[in-house]
């Protein structure tokens, strides 16, 4: 089975193409040892089965980021049979820079020209034959969004993969081996980098391998490489440079290997493993890209003419309207997600479904079967109350993910970062911090991972520390549950206030922490973000992305939360000697809870049930609701909590340390136990202090 890699710039339509080619036959995981997302999918096409690996979206192979290192290492170490490089033709020049770098890695390459329809609608023309000739690799025009050109692309990929896997010399940039692309033109960037062919034809090296060696980097060459150099056949007209072969090691078989090396999680550390591409080398590749661009793209209008995207941008980031529109969009997202009318109504329907219909049916069925009481207690009070209580919030969580994906896919997310950067700068953050923070409303884990795009250490650390204060989707059930019990008439407002408190505490934390870290000789961070053209989102990609998140939530409800509810049910039904207790305050949980409870007394919820609910929330925040649902009946809740102490409890669950999965992500991203410990202490400290303030001040004001 052939392995195909998909590489390209961010915003080139790579994800859309990946989804087109693989549909739902894809799995998501991480690259080994790092938290860069890895997606692998299957393509079935006319009896051929291919594995498609989605490489991270990158601008360059010059290894300054984990994404770039992951891409390079995959191509060099795993040797995919074909690399598909997707190019956004509306941004040809910069995309070609990556293409030229990819070409140098020496794997069979196919270029997929995406967004060809946009070029045509601008009235421009792109000469694909010429491009193929200049690049010396097959070039296929596609439109990932409109699902055009997929057959051509797949056929080219399969032909190339078969050529490659049969014992013929693999990919040959000169087109000597039956690929239908033409000879490179005299000015074409032509680099000889065929692999060892088994034909006795030696590896031809780029001229620059010698230069790289001379550069006295950490280049390691085998003894035979000197011979290979003398066997070099081609003198390239444009003398392309090998950008990043510093850790390259040539095996006797002539195959290029990247040295296996530990990927230091730290960006700055891992970047040091690879000396940088020289400016002149980069500039040279850009000159080639520019030359190709000029030869293949025929503009029908002056280069600075306004496109539709520019006109939209003039409004959305214009001097006067940008901020009101930004606030309006944020308000709309939260209003639609959390309002009673849409998200809330769907949630209510599900609640009725789980509690009344399913719960009722199971109850009466068990009664008819004369099942023991403990079974109905486990099923109805434990699992259905717990898992059902969590599943109820599926519609609101889906809506939130739909909006987050829409903001990202339309290109607005980058504009939001552009608009708020000035404010975030004052807090010691960057406009780019806005993206992880907004994602934090969905789930803290990917949000913390997204902070990686911040290159400055201090900004990244600060962003990671405050992102958990953005109330994630799993905390939503807690607010909804308490708000509808204690604040029935102001449900929306009370829920909204939680989000507001979270943002406020994030800002306060940022100001305090950056005031302390500022003195310590930090370097001023730079800010850089691409503002991609506005585009209509692709429905299929949107669906697949949201489905991925929803599936995740469902799987958690079916596994982790399910298991938790059984554990909770068990711990509250039995005592230390494993006897069934009549009063669950004598249960194992009762004992554990009453040890912690005194710490929570000043916050207004010093009962053992709240204490253990908060403990189970460490596994997953949804568990807080599941546990409360098991431990309390509604009547009990109303006597144990006042609206004030319920509010203090909600605030505590908002702010206290995030779930273990999020802590794991924080540990991986910070690469430091010290900072992870600080995050836990800071967040729990904030939770305690703010809840304390709310409860005590509220009591003084006579609200308790």
């Amino acid at each position: 089975m052939s392995t195909i890699a998909l590489a390209g710039n961010p915003n080139s339509g790579k994800t859309t193409l990946f989804n087109r080619l693989t549909g739902t036959r894809q799995t998501t995981g991480n690259w080994p040892g790092v938290t860069v997302e890895k997606k692998v999918g299957m393509i079935k096409y006319h009896g051929d089965i291919l594995t498609l690996v989605d490489l991270p979206g990158i601008y360059s192979l010059s290894p300054y980021s984990l994404e770039e290192i992951v891409t390079r290492n995959f191509i060099l170490d795993e040797k995919p049979d074909v690399v598909i490089n997707i190019i956004d033709v509306t941004n040809l020049e910069r995309n070609l820079y990556l293409t030229l770098q990819l070409k140098k890695l020496g794997r069979p390459l196919i270029v997929a020209l995406n967004m060809m329809d946009e070029i045509v609608s601008h009235g421009d023309k792109l000469d694909t034959d010429k491009l193929e000739e200049l690049l010396g690799v097959p070039v296929i025009a596609i439109s990932a969004k409109k699902n055009e050109g997929m057959d051509n692309l797949l056929e080219a990929v399969i032909t190339m993969a078969k050529d490659h896997s049969s014992n013929l010399p693999d990919y040959d940039p000169d087109g000597h081996h039956g690929h239908h692309h033409g000879q490179p033109g005299p000015h074409g960037p032509q680099d000889g980098h065929g692999r060892h062919s088994g034909h006795g034809r030696h590896n031809r090296h780029e001229h620059q391998l010698e230069q790289s060696a001379v550069d006295d980097r950490t280049l390691i060459t085998d003894s035979d490489s000197a011979d290979e150099k003398s066997n070099e056949l081609d003198l390239q007209p444009l003398k392309p440079h090998i950008p990043t072969h510093e850790h390259v090691h040539r095996h006797p078989d002539g195959v290029v290997h990247a040295h296996p090396h530990p990927i230091g999680h730290h960006l700055s550390v891992s970047a040091n493993h690879y000396p940088e591409e020289t400016d002149e080398q980069t500039a040279d590749l850009y000159r080639q890209a520019s030359a190709i661009h000029d030869q293949v793209l025929i503009h029908s209008h002056p280069p600075h003419a306004m496109t539709r995207s520019d006109k939209i941008d003039r409004v959305l980031t214009g001097k006067w309207l940008a901020i009101p529109i930004f606030l309006l969009i944020m308000l709309l997202v939260f209003q639609i997600t959390f309002s009673e009318n849409i998200g809330g109504r769907l949630t209510e329907l599900l609640d009725v479904f789980f509690q009344d219909i399913i719960g009722g049916a199971v109850n009466s069925w068990l009664a008819a079967a004369q099942a023991p009481v403990w079974i109905s207690s486990l099923l109805v009070d434990g699992i259905i109350a717990g898992v059902g209580g969590v599943l109820t919030f599926l519609p609101q969580i889906s809506l939130l993910f739909i909006f987050l994906t829409l903001l990202e896919d339309t290109g607005y997310m980058a504009r939001a970062a552009f608009i708020v950067d000035r404010i975030f700068q004052k807090l010691g953050l960057s406009g780019r911090s806005f993206i992880p923070m907004l994602m934090g409303f969905g789930c803290t884990v990917p949000a913390v991972m997204a902070a990686r795009t911040l290159e400055n250490e201090r900004e990244r650390r600060l962003t990671i520390l405050i992102t958990p204060f953005m109330s994630c989707g799993a905390r939503m059930p807690i607010y909804a549950f308490f708000a509808s019990l204690f604040f029935a008439s102001n449900k929306g407002l009370v829920t909204f206030s939680m989000y507001f408190i979270g943002i406020l505490i994030a800002i306060i934390s940022a100001v305090i922490i950056s005031a302390f870290s500022r003195g310590k000789g930090h370097t001023e961070a730079a800010f850089m973000i691409e503002l991609p053209p506005y585009r209509l989102p692709d429905g299929k990609s949107l669906f697949l992305h949201v489905w991925d998140k929803v599936k995740d939530f469902l799987v958690r409800a079916g596994t982790l939360i399910f298991a938790m509810t059984i554990v909770v049910w068990f711990l509250q039904s039995f005592d230390m000697r494993l006897r069934v207790v009549a009063d669950n305050s004598e249960s194992i949980f009762g004992v554990i809870g009453s040890v912690i409870a005194p710490l929570l007394r000043p916050l207004g919820f010093g009962n053992w049930q709240s204490a253990v609910a908060l403990l189970t929330g460490l596994v997953a925040k949804e568990s807080v609701v599941a546990t409360i649902g098991i431990l309390f009946t509604e009547q009990q809740l109303l006597t144990m909590f006042t609206p004030l102490s319920a509010y203090a409890f909600m605030t505590f669950t908002l702010l206290y340390t995030p779930c273990l999965a999020a802590l794991g992500a924080i540990k991986r991203e910070m690469n430091s136990w010290k900072w992870t410990g600080f995050a836990v202490l800071w967040q729990t400290g904030m939770a305690w202090s703010v809840s304390f303030l709310i409860y005590q001040v509220g009591k003084i004001m006579g609200l308790g």
Binding site: S60, Y64, Y286, E455, E524, M528
Partner: protein, 77 residues
């Protein structure tokens, strides 16, 4: 002059970039190489950062970082 001194709509060619090396490397990798044409598209609503047009795409950087980019103003472009 440096890039931050351009007015919205003005074009220039890049002469050199100095300063912090990672930022500099990133800029070059994004195609802001010596000799490249850049245009200042606009400033963000709060006055910073700025949006520049380079190699037919839009890139946003802060004014203080743009100070490190020396440019030649292209009159009347």
């Amino acid at each position: 002059m440096s890039l931050d001194e351009l007015k919205p709509g003005q074009c220039a060619t890049v002469i050199s970039i100095d300063g912090d090396s990672l930022f500099r490397q990133r800029l070059i990798a994004m195609g802001v190489t010596p000799g490249t044409w850049v245009m200042l598209r606009k400033l963000a609503p709060l006055g910073d950062p700025m949006e520049i047009r380079v190699r037919n795409y839009s890139l946003s950087i802060r004014k203080k970082d743009a100070r490190a980019i020396s440019v030649n103003l292209v009159e009347g472009a």
